[in-house]
């Protein structure tokens, strides 16, 4: 009945060692979740050539991907989980709320048009209570605010004419909630003599995959693949400032679509700091940074860790004179995209965030650096420190150096 045609990475190699369960943020705080091993490879083994079994416990998975990182046998656990989510959403139906959350981009478009009103409303307790009652949105969770002057209104450049050319995938957060990140990125590239084009793009699909809206997510994926391949085939590099979007382009599209196009695009995709680090290795990075006497903490988003790129944000920020940065060595933030906004997941989400908050306070830096807008949401709410995107820090270091000279 259901599409049980899973992509190549199979469950066969799973030896039930439990490594994924040990590293699963949700399993670690809740006994209601079946766990990545049970709902991934084990469930798949059970239903292979058999009738589909729908397991509603899959709803608690955040698709953080830590299971893939821990698996010693290279089982793509999170892919199996994503397909279980799809099947469950099809069988059990999707709540209106989850449909809305999955469509973060549409929400962003609308909310930014009415930005002053939306932001005010999102901060008002009575409105939040109504949202909790009607929509099942957690009234304790703060929502990120929206900008009228979103990045789409500000930046319309479609081509680049420098030696290195960047096709920027901005993503919903830097487009609608924090255009200053996108602007800082463009500035940082300018300081390196690189022009940035912003190709036509849709939401990367991560909120859709996480809410079981696989079909819609794949549609967006196809759109982005086609749009960006036109650029990569002309020598552009695809650079991304949001770690979840980056992972979608680097890995999820490959896993979910299994298409030539997804593979071809993925080879050209870079996290923004990873890109700068590559420039540095090739001797092309402008290192004229002003001195900044800062002791920063770094919070690594799960979807950054999933990329297998080390820690490029810290590598680049460490090049700024006087800039000291320590990884706080925390696990998942518990926000997990749209997950943390859901009322019934509030306990799990906040319990996961608790150890993250402890790690941040333990390091006790001046502020926290992180790339992910949703992690920032959790960090802002659960810690006493300010949270900044690395591109903002870099743009400032370049600007100060320029003013000085």
């Amino acid at each position: 009945m259901h599409n049980t045609l899973y992509p190549k990475p199979s469950f066969d190699q799973c030896i039930k060692c439990n490594a994924c369960v040990i590293d699963c943020p949700v399993s670690n705080v809740s006994l209601d979740f079946g766990g990545p091993k049970h709902l991934g490879p084990e469930l798949k083994r059970l239903i292979e050539n058999n009738e589909y079994i729908d397991d509603s416990r899959i709803d608690l998975c955040t698709l953080c991907g830590n299971c893939d990182l821990s698996c010693p046998e290279n089982v793509q656990v999170s892919t199996l989980l994503a397909f279980s989510k799809e099947a469950h959403a099809e069988i059990a139906g999707t709540k209106f709320r989850d449909f809305v959350l999955a469509n973060a981009e549409t929400v962003g478009k609308l909310a930014s048009v009415f930005a002053p009103i939306t932001n005010l409303a999102l901060k008002m307790k009575p409105v939040r209570k109504i949202m909790e009652g009607v929509m099942g949105l957690d009234s304790e969770r703060l929502f990120p605010s929206y900008r009228f002057k979103n990045f789409n209104r500000i930046y319309k450049k479609k081509t680049a004419n420098t030696k290195r050319k960047v096709a920027y995938y901005a993503g919903c957060y830097a487009t609608y909630n924090a255009p200053e990140i996108a602007e800082a990125f463009v500035k940082v590239m300018e300081y390196n003599g690189i022009e940035v084009a912003k190709p036509d793009q849709k939401c990367c699909g991560i909120p859709m995959f996480a809410n079981g809206q696989m079909k819609q997510g794949k549609k967006n994926a196809e759109y982005n693949i086609n749009s960006f391949l036109e650029y990569t085939r002309q020598g552009y590099d695809v650079v991304v400032t949001c770690t979840s979007c980056t992972l979608a382009l680097k890995k999820e599209y490959i896993m979910y679509l299994q298409s030539e196009g997804a593979h071809e695009l993925a080879r050209h995709v870079y996290d923004a700091d990873e890109y700068l680090r590559m420039l540095h290795a090739e001797g092309e990075l402008n290192t004229n940074f002003a001195e900044m006497n800062v002791k920063a903490g770094y919070y690594a988003p799960c979807h950054m860790k999933s990329q297998g790129i080390g820690n490029p944000a810290m590598d680049i920020l460490s090049l700024i004179p006087g800039y000291e940065i320590t990884d706080v060595a925390a696990g998942c933030c518990g926000q997990c995209g749209t997950y943390g906004f859901k009322k019934e997941k509030q306990d799990i989400s906040l319990s996961i965030g608790k150890s993250m908050a402890e790690a941040v306070e333990e390091v006790n830096a001046d502020y926290t650096v992180t790339e992910c807008g949703m992690c920032k949401n959790a960090l802002d709410q659960l810690t006493s420190k300010k949270t900044i995107h690395p591109m903002i820090v870099l743009a400032e270091a370049y600007e100060k150096a320029e003013k000085r000279s």
Binding site: C17, N18, A19, V21, I22, D23, N28, V29, L31, D32, F33, G34, G35, H38, R57, D68, L69, S70, C71, P72, E73, N74, L249, K250, K251, I254, M255, A266, R267, V269, A281, K305, S306, Q307, G308, I309, G310, N311, M314, D315, T326, D327, V328, A329, S355, V363
Partner: protein, 358 residues
């Protein structure tokens, strides 16, 4: 460009990264997954073919220092094996063990406490085997409930995380005391629990249990995940990250570029592409056959990491000068069946990192 690139995130890889970091080296750690540490007991056994040496003692001391610094002290001494009880009731000899563990006495009275929810630890089964192993020991048993609704089969790790919380400890202690009184059980000299005496708050669990129960308590490791292994893994990983080790996770090393008998770079593969990572020195801690660094073929062991020729025992025919081998990556000539064991992992990591200074 890194000073040291470590391959493997098991005990050997993590210790090598931490110790290299302590020397001020810039370290990257590449691994396709976690190591066997997570399936182990968390105790350090000795399976080496060669007898322990002065170097073993030095390395073991260094490990104990590190663990004390990380607030997870290890007891035991390199010169002497101790017997500890396992979750099946059989005894196992080990060298180093965490503070949550007390070696089994030869005689006297012990009480084995199981949790209804943890099917892998059956007190009656433990009793049968333990009495055979230690005929002069009087073994009592009882089972209490963690009183939790669970939608999955619970593991020792689940129990450990529950015991991190005060309210759950109180429930368990109350039941133990009530049953002991009701059944008129004599005061034991040692309480034996599954390997689940807390994760983050293990010290509090230990303290509270031994005070409330009036005797020391111990953990008996069995089916993974065992709490001591999880504590050790999490604290080593955190230490390595805080020291600035760059983790390249979910990343597989699929070969190397060798020139003039020096590895110039490793070929690494992630979901989106194949690229290179460059270091001055490479520490291979890929765990042999068990860890994935070797594969068994009809012709003997073959290396999967550097892609270089080995003999049938998994040793590189010509080992590049800037490559250091630790753990089972040293091949089966040095280790029984290529199983490393905690002490050999500690010693080989220590030796390798020492040679970095030279």
């Amino acid at each position: 460009m890194y000073d040291v690139v470590v391959v493997g995130q098991g005990l050997s890889g993590l210790l090598s990264a931490i110790w290299a970091g302590e020397q001020g080296k810039k370290v990257a750690l590449v691994s396709k997954g976690t190591g066997k540490l997570l399936q182990s007991t968390g105790f350090m056994d000795f399976y080496g073919k060669k007898p322990a040496t002065e170097m073993t003692k030095e390395a073991v001391d260094k490990f104990k220092q590190l663990m004390t610094k990380l607030n997870l002290p290890y007891l035991g001494d390199f010169g002497s094996k101790v017997s500890v009880v396992t979750g099946s009731g059989y005894l196992k000899e080990t060298i180093l063990y965490p503070e949550t563990v007390v070696p089994v006495p030869d005689s006297g009275r012990v009480l084995v406490v199981g949790f209804t929810e943890i099917a892998d630890f059956q007190p009656a089964f433990v009793k049968g085997n333990l009495e055979r192993e230690r005929p002069e020991l009087v073994v009592d048993t009882l089972t209490v409930s963690l009183e939790q609704k669970s939608l999955r089969t619970m593991t020792q790790l689940d129990a450990a995380r529950l015991l991190d919380k005060k309210e759950n400890r109180a429930k368990v202690l109350k039941q133990i005391k009530a049953q002991m009184q009701k059944r008129n059980l004599g005061q034991p000299e040692l309480y034996i629990f599954p390997a689940s005496l807390g994760i983050e708050n293990w010290r509090t669990v230990l303290q509270e249990f031994s005070v409330e129960l009036g005797a020391p308590v111990t953990e008996a490791p069995g089916m993974p995940p065992n709490a001591p292994a999880v504590r050790l893994f999490e604290s080593l990983r955190k230490a390595a990250i805080r020291m600035g080790t760059r983790f390249y996770s979910d990343t597989e090393v699929i070969g190397s570029h060798v020139e003039e008998n020096l590895v110039r770079s490793l070929k690494i593969q992630t979901s989106n592409h194949t690229t290179e990572i460059i270091g001055r020195t490479y520490i291979i801690a890929a765990g042999g056959v068990l860890g994935g660094g070797h594969v068994m073929t009809a012709q003997g062991l073959k290396d999967t990491v550097l892609g270089l020729e080995t003999d049938a025992y998994g040793q590189y025919s010509v080992c590049p000068e800037n490559v250091l081998l630790v753990g089972a990556s040293r091949g089966t000539k040095e280790l029984h069946c290529g199983i490393t064991g905690g002490v050999s992992a500690i010693q080989s990591s220590y030796e390798s990192v020492l040679s970095l200074t030279k």
